[in-house]
Symmetry: C2
Subunit: 250 residues, 2 copies
Amino acid sequence: MAERESDRSVSQTVRAQLSLRDLILSGDLRPGERISELQAVETTGASRTPVRMALVRLEEEGLLEAIPSGGFMVKTFSERDVMDSIELRGTLEGLAARFAAERGASSRDLEPLKRCLDEIDGVVRQDPISVDAFSSYVALNARLHAMLTELSRSPPLIRQVDRASALPFASPSGFVMTQSTLPDARDTLMIAQDQHRVVIDAIENREGARAEAIMREHARVAARNLRLVLQNKTHFDLLPGLALIRMAGE
Amino acid sequence: MAERESDRSVSQTVRAQLSLRDLILSGDLRPGERISELQAVETTGASRTPVRMALVRLEEEGLLEAIPSGGFMVKTFSERDVMDSIELRGTLEGLAARFAAERGASSRDLEPLKRCLDEIDGVVRQDPISVDAFSSYVALNARLHAMLTELSRSPPLIRQVDRASALPFASPSGFVMTQSTLPDARDTLMIAQDQHRVVIDAIENREGARAEAIMREHARVAARNLRLVLQNKTHFDLLPGLALIRMAGE
DNA sequence: TTACCGGATATTGTATACATGTAGTGTCCA
DNA sequence: TGGACACTACATGTATACAATATCCGGTAA
């Protein structure tokens, strides 16, 4: 899962960060547990200095929590924390869509978005949708959301959206895979894709409020999927990071 | 300005962070300039390890930018970056207010907010307002905004609001001092205070949309003040961090 | 005169040794 | 038997030494 010796080009810090993130999201490092630096050194192969840097970055990323007496522990999230993180991401993406609409997007700007839209159409058109197609959807969806955010042309906002999407269960593509086995999976994807189309239309027509409202609602599709996953308590393996959610009974 | 030998209790990392932040915001480290670690070591008195930690944290805070080839430089902000950061903060505070309204706040929850409101009334009532009173307003205003955000009872959101308010020119109290010498300073404070009162009223009555809209508009008072400051090109010394804004000509 | 190449210098990335503070455990006393 | 204190062990915070790499300057050739 973690590339050990490979990628000699990237720094030890980045390697340690990736490696530790995998360990956290997979649940190998259990929530609430203190992360031992020495243990992390053994696991990642890097020395203490880059490991410490990685830990600081993962704290800022929201995956770790600083312990007052020193060191870090794996953060835990309540179900509402996750819902709020999704709503937060939707609000920020909504602001980005409004900025894009108000500031105007040329057809040249919108062209790559529309191409992406068409590609997603091609994926959603199949019935039933294969697992591979779901993977394609995830990639295309992530690209579309990234381009929509970029359209705001606001570096501070793009930065914050990225931060809000860093948590895997808050990311735009987080819950796509979890619903891949559900019977009405295709319907959900179609609805989401329709929202994609509408928001781009709104931006094109400079309808800021409409663009904002749609993006907010669009995020709530993920919220619905979260509820489904938590109710069925299934497909936990399809979203790394779901292990960080502490259930109702503590 | 920076406490050198004092506060032996706090870690070197925190001391270096505070010290470097002061240096950045005061403009002693010029925007766009690479920050030399060795120079930082000399300035702060800490060794390289805590200095590096501090640099990483300041990057996450948004004050520094990583240089691809290594190291960090002081970030620069366009006027629109600053405007967007204010709008962003307003949007997040708006979401917090909506959460507070929708989830309900008991009179017990609201009591400290109303006390703070009364205290601000006491400050704003004087005419003309002394410079000391302005300082009091800044402190009370910061407390009120913090309590309003807390009312959302959403740790992820509180975290993001704090991050968005970390940039001094995006903070709720950022531009209060800059307007202290303006003729209609008292009027602006009165208007802002009225918005405080209205948002608390909206939360009390569970009017989510109203609470959200008011908080967004409330942030735009800061945006107006920014325009005034940039037009008059005066009182730059009253907001540390204004030195980071690059003007229209380059 | 300008562009490119090579070396010297300085700066960052990494590893490790040392110091300090915390947590855990065991024993002793009430 | 329970609690408190002291001691030990370990984990983190800090400092520094070393290695690799980027930058800058000077020289040479086109």
